[in-house]
Symmetry: C2
Subunit: 336 residues, 2 copies
Amino acid sequence: MSNVTIKDIARMAGVSHTTVSRALNDSPLINPETKEKIKSIAGSLNYTPNYSAKSLVLDRSYNLGLFFTTLRQGTSPGFLYEAIKGVNEIIKDRYNLIVRGIDDYKSYHHVNRKSFDGIMLMSQSAADQPFIEYASDHGIPFIVLNREVEMSGVVNLIPDDQSGAYRMTEYMLRCGHRRIAIVEGKAGFKSAQARKEGYREALLAYGIPLQDELCIRGDYGLESGYKAMVRLLALPERPTAVFCSSDDMALGAVKAAVERGLRVPDDVSVAGFDDTGYSAFTTPALTTVRRPIEEMSRAGAERLMALLETKESAERKTLFHTELIVRDSVKRLNTE
Amino acid sequence: MSNVTIKDIARMAGVSHTTVSRALNDSPLINPETKEKIKSIAGSLNYTPNYSAKSLVLDRSYNLGLFFTTLRQGTSPGFLYEAIKGVNEIIKDRYNLIVRGIDDYKSYHHVNRKSFDGIMLMSQSAADQPFIEYASDHGIPFIVLNREVEMSGVVNLIPDDQSGAYRMTEYMLRCGHRRIAIVEGKAGFKSAQARKEGYREALLAYGIPLQDELCIRGDYGLESGYKAMVRLLALPERPTAVFCSSDDMALGAVKAAVERGLRVPDDVSVAGFDDTGYSAFTTPALTTVRRPIEEMSRAGAERLMALLETKESAERKTLFHTELIVRDSVKRLNTE
DNA sequence: AATCCGATTGTTAACGTGTGCATGGCTATG
DNA sequence: CATAGCCATGCACACGTTAACAATCGGATT
């Protein structure tokens, strides 16, 4: 049992517990020989510091929060996975990573400076604005990932969704598509808006008007992609290509098309967004936009650690590049 | 700032901090009126207890661990997602859920009774036996999910993989398949072994010998399913059905088949295991075995909470039912 | 020889909370 | 009226750690 305290060590070493504390924290005040002796005793006793006690006096909890807007809906497994993986690669052993959806909290009461040294918010919707203000008001060091936030002074790492969507739409246009539909993301999600905007811009650049009947609202989930496609296929003049704002919705869309006897991409092209691990293995392999979630999370963790150790923080806003991944689900109509 | 302490409240209420402490903890010793008064002051001051201090004196950290064998490889995003979701639904606000792969720790030094009130281990491989022993030796309350563990006295919740695999194989046999291959899970993973065993048993029941050339080792990942299928298709006499030990591998397998001009399930049948959210939306929709990860995690969290609050713990081992999900990826060869 | 200084160690208090024991007031009982 | 008993509260300490300040010692400086 690790009930060993510095006082026990002090007794064995014939010194005061203060000296032990200093020795174990590598204080330069302590005689090197004493230090060695104390460390070896600590080692042999298998001493582990009591972090609750440290926390109390040092005013640090050693807890880091990784919060999502929600874990219930609108957060894809792949997204969660990459984010956790990225962060866990960076943080030191002594930090605890606490994962939670902010909608899991009945009140933010338990979220405070004493309980969290810092927080990374994977923000997906404007709905977490209150949370951001709460964190800011309570002086909790935090950074916001994934969603652009207007607040000044906040470290903000975001993927360049808009230009990703632009490039995808442009790619479809270059392939000769002119009647291009979009299945939008979840209402209220900034990412949904950015992707729509990239789509709109690209169409504009090619002088093609935005048509309401080709814009269908989804919620990023599989099912909503399916339903959206069903509606698109029922149109008098149906689109030749469908840009889905998430890979999951693209899967749903493909499903709907195939069920109705259409081949993808021969009869209708479908593209996604995210490049989840699955996209390369669907049939057909999905043309999509890669979003560097893991890199972004890693960078976020690094920035947060830096922010905690030295009080300075570098640039506020950083864009992470998204990348067009061409696979097999969009057909080339011309020979350009 | 939440620098309010019970002493501040005590001063304002004209009582001792002891009384405040008791009042806020609903001690029956305190006069109801005093209690009300104190609570209202605490409320208006927006008081939050300092959990580091509480931890120190109560010897509880309010941290719960959700540990995986690894987060790097062999853990699918969907698995992680469902587990976290299940646990987060149960645990109370005041608990922190700490998610980590045990292979992230350089040493277990930071894992101890003071830092974790309890641990749920999503065990996937025998490789975490040392960790289990460590936790046991250090007297940390813990339960093991997902993998059967021999240790006595450990609460152990596991999905009935073996009978799931049995039912799947049996289903294929009933459909008239006789030459059935298996793509096995990651070496060393208990789940891989259990699924293989169910497969073996079913074949045996139908008097069909196990053939080594039809058993290919995979690692649960997409890529490995692809490669396994490539090998199977290169066989002189190829299987009519392939049972993959995970949905991900099934996706990979389908991919390989389609690339070689084969249709699933018309030319070759493929089945998976897990019933990830995607299985219903692949083309063709995947026939698979549902594994109740979320339910199991929820139950695990409940059991752990119970174990922490009252020291008793109910039955040791609980099996969670797996369920055959018939979709479109396995062809019926007969008309039985 | 008196003083000072640097190196090392110890004394003591502090962080915010919970709890055993003592205290004081009030009521009921004889 | 005295005493027992209960209810409500306070006092003092504990939890394990860090840190400001004091203390000791030996040697160097004046």
